[in-house]
């Protein structure tokens, strides 16, 4: 990358220099991805970093973010893995449509997702109204609401990843388990799940990262109450108006946490590129 003119090794490819029409946009693309986080590091108020990090509001937001992202990933696993299994293994009419519906949150602007959640689960929403009347449960503007908003936007990542792993898995192992007397549930638990574990983990990591960065649906559905619904991304956005330095510090923390977790998991278990 550093010396594109002379750096092409003769062993690779056709032994010729890669064309600049590809190398140039590649370098620009790389720069575009790398420079903003680098800028964040450059502009960080390193001298006051210690005291700012100890700010209870920062710690509160961090704690809430880690808690809700992890809870959302848990919900995604409990609901998303079975959903992926059904999509991959049970042929039913309309499966294609269902598969398309599952991916809707991927393309839906998160704010729209938040509005939709409000309409359904809000205090006057279709389901929320009934939840409120029957159980006295209100979801909007609560920590549970944050988890719901994050689950909504993150679950497709898990479902897609796990469904792909299930489709790629060798079904004959499941047949072998069946001939040994395993019921379908035992087959799933003791054979299928361990075989697709890397796919599940990859999905969970993507899911967690997406939940951690969730902003639009959260602020729409859960608002931003410090200590209750104000997660890191929300805190960053709000701090930017009043105290830009605080926003940089919060961003740094978020960046550090996601890079740390992703590299740790990736080196240990993930084979994804």
């Amino acid at each position: 990358m550093r010396a594109p003119a002379g750096g092409a090794s003769p062993e690779r490819g056709f032994g010729r220099r890669p064309p600049w029409m590809l190398v140039l946009p590649a370098l620009v693309g790389l720069g575009f991805l790398v420079l903003p986080p680098a800028g964040l590091l450059l502009r960080a108020p390193w001298s006051t970093l210690g005291t700012r990090l100890a700010d209870p509001r920062v710690l509160e937001a961090l704690r809430l973010s880690l808690l809700t992202a992890t809870a959302a990933t848990g919900v995604c696993l409990v609901l998303g893995v079975p959903l992926a299994w059904v999509l991959a293994r049970v042929p039913f009419p309309g499966a294609r449509l269902v598969r398309a519906l599952v991916t809707v949150p991927l393309v839906l602007p998160p704010v729209v997702g938040g509005v939709a959640l409000l309409l359904v689960l809000g205090r006057r929403g279709l389901v929320g109204q009934w939840l409120d009347a029957a159980f006295g449960v209100t979801l909007p503007f609560t920590t549970a609401g944050v988890v719901l908003a994050q689950t909504f936007v993150a679950m497709p990542f898990l479902v897609i990843s796990v469904e792909g792993a299930l489709r790629a898995a060798d079904l004959r192992y499941e047949e072998a388990a069946a001939t040994l007397g395993a019921t379908r549930w035992t087959v799933f638990r003791r054979v299928t799940l361990p075989l697709v574990a890397p796919g599940v983990l990859a999905g969970a990591v993507l899911c967690w990262a997406r939940a951690l960065g969730e902003f639009g649906a959260t602020i729409t559905f859960a608002g931003s109450f410090p200590g209750r619904t104000e997660t890191m991304p929300l805190a960053v956005y709000l701090a930017l108006e009043t105290d830009p330095e605080a926003a940089v510090v919060l961003s740094l923390v978020l960046l550090a946490v996601s890079v740390l977790v992703l590299t740790a998991l990736r080196d240990r278990w993930l084979d994804v590129a």
């Binding site: 004959r172 047949e175 072998a176 040994l180 395993a182 019921t183």
Partner: protein, 368 residues
């Protein structure tokens, strides 16, 4: 190991009613393909399904295991109807083609898997599984993962895993095909020993006649989803009834009309040819002879009574220390085995014309 009381060479269905073991009629339809097979195996007996690719051997085995639904028919093992049960409730042991040991479990856990499914306590399953590993000579590999095992070891673990649940029917799908040629011989005899120690019925699928001959007490040859020949391996090898079996066992085979000591066979391109034999038979027959029984000459041989015909050399190929010459009719196509010296002397190259001779005493004639 018990053998069936009578050699079955007539293609009639054998009944094992009341004797226990496997009794089945398998009808499976898949698109254009249809399998229709009646199959029995007595307790302690090993029956091999032999046939070319696509003959329906594996489908038959999968139908027995419940992995493929029956369109019609029945499966009975020791008098118990299995065909309506799902695979996990059939109590059948199956060894798959590439063994399919669970990669995330150790050898011991693989063998213990079936017992766990039966609800046996964990400690107990580990003890029984360890015994089975011991029995197949792999005690020291208990904690090894499948990918650390050689092909032969994996096969033994797969066999132990299938047998650990004490099945009354054992199914083996090409149990030796994943092995390379020089370990195969040893593993084959090991498998034979272990099968001999199994007291339930066993059905083995293979496309290798040698595996079938060594491992099975009885053969069922499948072609196009139907049985074309049944019998003891030696009988099938001696008296093949289809082109496929004849080729497998290396015999020349013809169908014809016998009239005392001559057989009129249908040759190439509608040509008829009369062959002298020593067996006295009448009616529709098969006539078979070994490639080594055919002698080749450049000019018409005189003298002793033999069948003589003229043919064209279609191909010359090496076959062990002999050379196999493929003769093309009319009137008769055949394979002939000669020495490399004869090839040079007779200038046997594709396209050459030679005289072929066959002694009447070298032919075998049996009813079709």
């Amino acid at each position: 190991m018990s053998r069936p009381d009578t050699p079955m060479t007539t293609g009639r269905e054998e009944r094992a009613a009341g004797r226990g073991g496997l009794e089945a009629r398998l009808l499976v339809r898949r698109g254009d393909f249809a399998l229709d097979l009646e199959l029995t195996a007595a307790p302690g007996e090993v029956v091999a399904l032999l046939g070319p690719n696509g003959a329906g051997k594996s489908t038959a085995l999968r139908a027995l295991a419940g992995l493929v639904p029956l369109a019609d028919g029945y499966i009975r093992v020791d008098g118990r109807d299995l065909h309506r049960l799902p695979p996990e409730r059939r109590g059948i042991g199956m060894v798959f083609q590439d063994y399919l040991l669970f990669p995330h479990l150790s050898a011991l856990e693989n063998v213990a898997f079936g017992l766990r499914c039966q609800g046996v306590r964990k400690r107990e399953t580990r003890r029984i599984a360890a015994e089975w590993l011991e029995r197949v000579g792999l005690a020291e590999y208990a904690s090894a993962r499948p990918r650390a095992l050689s092909g032969g070891q994996a096969q033994r673990v797969a066999l132990a895993r299938a047998l650990a649940v004490r099945p009354r029917l054992l199914l083996l799908d090409e149990p030796l095909s994943a092995l390379d040629a020089h370990t195969r011989l040893e593993i084959r005899s090991g498998l034979r020993r272990r099968l001999a120690g199994f007291d339930g019925a066993a059905v083995l699928v293979t496309h290798d006649p040698l595996d079938a001959m060594v491992l099975a007490d009885r053969l069922v040859v499948l072609e196009g989803g139907r049985p074309v020949q049944r019998g003891r391996p030696a009988d099938v090898a001696r008296q093949p009834r289809t082109e496929y079996v004849a080729r497998l066992v290396g015999l020349n085979l013809y169908r014809g009309q016998a009239d005392g000591r001559t057989v009129r066979v249908e040759g190439e391109g509608g040509a008829r040819m009369e062959l002298d034999t020593v067996d006295h038979v009448l009616g529709e027959v098969f006539l078979a002879f070994e490639p080594t029984a055919v002698a080749l000459y450049r000019s018409r041989p005189e003298g002793s009574p033999r069948n003589v015909w003229r043919a064209r050399v279609a191909a010359v190929e090496r076959h062990g220390d002999r050379v196999r010459v493929r003769l093309q009719g009319p009137p008769l196509s055949a394979a002939a085995d000669v020495t490399p010296a004869a090839v040079a002397e007779l200038e046997l190259t594709p396209g050459a014309r030679v005289w072929a001779a066959l002694k009447a005493t070298e032919t075998r004639v049996y009813p079709a």
